[in-house]
Amino acid sequence: MQLVLERRPERSATIAITSPLIAIALTLVTMGILFAILGKNPITALDVYFIEPLIDPYSLAEIAVKATPLVMIGVGLALCYIANIWNIGAEGQFLVGAVCGSWLAVRTNGTDVGPWVLPAMLFLGALGGALYALIPAICRVRFGASEILTSLMLVYVAYYGMDYLVRGPWRDPKGLNFPTTAPFDPVATVPSLIEGSRLHAGTIGVLIVVMLVAVLLGRTIMGFEIRLVGAAPKAARFSGFDADRLVLFTFAVSGALAGLAGIIEVAGPIGYLQPDISPGYGFTAIIVAFLGRLNPIGILIAGLFLALTFIGGENAEIAMKVPLDLTKVFQGILLFYVLACDSMIVYRIRLISSRRAPAHA
């Protein structure tokens, strides 16, 4: 007997929808086993991870706060990934967006210049992220450099550049030598949605972005071009589309969205620039994009789920004394299962006898 992967005659619509759910279920089982190995009760651990955050209003708001950058970055990355263009450096574009927007907040700090500051910061954040993303895009188009490597490596350039700024020129003189900028003025801050909560207007923004990207992908010729280049590059060339232009476009858009997410994060829940503004949003968003099947609505749901793992991880660290790194293990296992389950959309597993054919099929 042997196991074979057999191509399905048509894509399975059922599996396409249920694949993320199966992946989540398998992840939960694996995590339960991991908890058991760590000597924790798996049921309690999963309860702390996944149930408690959902019944506590503070945690619910935190989930939305964490999901905001994940979804914003994730939908941008989906545009790239659908076209088989591999922007792995959203983390760097997020940081550069945060730095570019913060530049204006730092420059105007305490001058009370007017309400245009925040929109200008958001614009600068998006612009900075887009320009930073265009570096690997141009390297690929001009020199054929792998965008996977260049975009990934630029993450570290961005991180240490930002680290230098907040420890050096932009450090708050009244900040007791902590590596942070001065707190942003109210005109340079994303407003909260609910008084006393960290839930902020950026969450509304991300819903608008999700809708715009859904329309772009489904209804416009540009969206068709993105899907066609990914599905059949030779047909895309025959269609008259320019693959190089698409590399630049998708990198710029995904970089802009990552940069926007960066400045919203800094000007919203954090309120000043400091070295640890991201727990790896740009990388987690890759998982979000795939878990959401590269579909904007799916990414919204996936972003909320991944945000839950962050909050659940923090809960578990406090309540059960498990390391916070377990969250990353968790996310990695999840991505692994998502990709494995996805192959079941096009293939199915068959047990066949290697010796003789069955008498009838």
């Binding site: 010729i221 599905a231 047909a235 025959f238 008259g240 320019d242 066949i352 003789r356 099929a361």
Partner: protein, 527 residues
């Protein structure tokens, strides 16, 4: 021709390989439905059928590549179960595939060694290769890299590789599909010799004249079932075709009074380096296609036709704008979209992946070539009803059969998808149509529909350029035929001048009628 009288008696009357009730089911689809077949020693047995008739499935079962859902195989009277091709080879079954599995950057001997069991040294294999090639008159240089070789030479490698395992049964899948008539003649001599040695040959083809000339027995498949086993020499081409197709094929009617007018597509001294090092360099190609005429480009695959198509469609740009002129306007430096806006339309050879995106719906595939010059896109937004309307019109005009209104391209059969791809362009009423292999792998009914549509389009005043390896097709529809060889294009011959022999000689690259030798092959650049 060759002595084809059955000498079976001297090798016994028991079949070498007997297939009994072979059935292969894919989901609800029966690719093979209870097929019986007996293969005897010293016999060339033809397996005839249209594309999709189940020929490939049947031979893959015989070669152990796929397992039948029902039925059994007997080898010299004993029941066998083939777990894979290596078990088939161990019994003495060899196969030469239509699509070669050769590594382009390795030498002939290295390729052969890779396909043999690792029981001999490389030197032994090289020696045996030369010996086998010499004995059977299949000249091959073991040290030459495969990418330097012509298609015919590549096929020789596959044949020699199969022969080195001394097979009792050799299966050949459409071996002449890629050969010039002269190369095919050489192959037939080799096959006659193999037969005289007592080997059984299963010869898959849909070329009726070849089968009549070469084969002792023919089994005809249609829709997965066996229709008949007969002696092809006692049948006419028409009666064989009728068994294959199941109905008389509609004759293609030439439109009367087709008169050529102004040149609508002019190619002037077009030269182009290939994209990849194994491609063909287009060398000073010139041609005029006038409104109202169909010009055919014949030639063996890989002689620059792909590059020529890409240059005409604008997927690759020429070096000067005057190299390609569409309706009097220089288009050499314009892209695909601009050329479509000038009234040109293109149908590439590869239906899936080039002409269409396989996993996209037909409406999206209508948009694929329609976005430039129709009402399908308004201010960047897709007009979905307009794309669906194109699908419906194409379906109606070209009898495209499909399971639902707007399925994925990949779910259509080859013939129906080809009708869609050709119809999609013809319905735009192009002034210039460039179409590559319009009926490749398409059943006879669909082929007739497509050829008729091309003739009718030309009759309405369009310039039609057809690139095809099928000489019968070109003879049927083209007013003039030019031959592409090693990136050069011969001057076009009128339909009267373009005999099979004349074309065959040009396809072999010989102005003098010599066989092209290895030394004449152009040395590809960039290697």
């Amino acid at each position: 021709m060759h002595d084809v009288s059955p000498s079976r008696a001297s090798f016994g009357t028991e079949p070498l390989l007997r297939a009994i009730g072979i059935t292969k089911r894919y989901g609800d689809f029966l690719a093979n439905d209870g097929i019986d077949l007996d293969l005897f020693q010293a016999e060339i047995h033809a397996l005839l059928g249209e594309n999709g008739a189940g020929k490939s499935t049947l031979v893959k079962v015989m070669y152990g590549l796929i397992q039948p859902s029902a039925g059994e195989l007997q080898w010299m009277g004993k029941k066998i179960v083939l777990g894979g091709p290596s078990e088939a080879r161990a019994l003495g079954i060899g196969m030469v595939f239509q699509h070669f599995s050769l590594f382009e950057n390795l030498t002939v001997a290295e390729n052969v060694a890779l396909g043999l069991p690792p029981t001999e040294s490389f030197a032994q294999i090289s020696g045996r290769l030369e010996e086998t090639a010499r004995v059977y008159g299949l000249p091959l240089d073991p040290k030459r890299e495969v990418w330097r070789l012509s298609v015919g030479e590549r096929q020789r490698i596959e044949i020699v590789r199969a022969l080195m395992q001394n097979p009792k049964l050799l299966i050949l899948d459409e071996p002449t599909a890629v050969l010039t008539p002269q190369e095919a003649d050489q192959l037939f001599i080799v096959l006659g010799r193999l037969k005289s040695e007592g080997r059984a040959i299963l010869y898959i083809s849909h070329k009726l004249d070849e089968v009549k000339r070469l084969c002792d027995t023919a089994t005809i498949l249609r829709g997965g079932k066996k229709v008949a086993t007969c002696d092809p020499r006692r049948e006419t081409a028409v009666s064989l075709a009728r068994m294959m197709v199941g109905a008389d094929i509609g004759e293609v009617k030439a439109a009367s009074g087709r008169s050529a007018s102004q040149p609508r597509l002019v190619i002037h001294r077009l030269s182009m380096q290939p994209d990849d090092p194994h491609g063909t360099h287009l060398d000073d190609v010139s041609l005029e296609v006038r409104g109202g005429e169909i010009v055919g480009i014949a030639g063996v695959a890989g002689n620059g036709q792909d590059e020529f198509f890409a240059a005409l469609s604008g997927e690759r740009l020429a070096s000067g704008e005057g190299a390609i002129v569409i309706d009097g306007k220089a288009a050499g430096l314009l892209g695909v979209t601009e050329r479509r806006r000038m009234g040109a339309a293109f149908v590439p050879e590869e239906r899936l992946g080039h002409g269409t995106a396989p996993r996209m719906k037909l409406s999206e595939n209508a948009l694929l070539t329609g976005h430039a010059a129709s009402g399908m896109v308004k201010r960047g937004f897709i007009n979905k009803p307009a794309t669906l309307a194109t699908v419906d019109r194409t379906t109606k005009s070209f009898d495209v059969r499909k399971a639902k209104r707007d399925p994925e391209a990949v779910s259509l059969s080859g013939g129906n998808l080809q009708k869609f791809v050709v119809g999609r362009e013809i319905l735009r009423e192009p002034g210039v149509l460039v179409v590559s292999q319009p009926t490749w792998g398409v059943d006879a009914g669909a082929a007739a529909t497509i050829r008729q549509a091309l003739i009718d389009l030309a009759a309405r005043g369009a310039a039609v350029l057809v690139v095809s390896q099928d000489l019968d097709e070109l003879a049927e529809i083209a007013d003039r035929i030019a031959v592409m060889f090693h990136g050069r294009l011969s001057p076009p011959l009128s339909a009267a001048e373009a005999t099979r022999e004349a074309l065959g000689l040009l396809m072999g690259g010989a102005k003098s009628g010599r066989e092209p030798s290895v030394e004449e092959a152009p040395h590809a650049t960039g290697s």
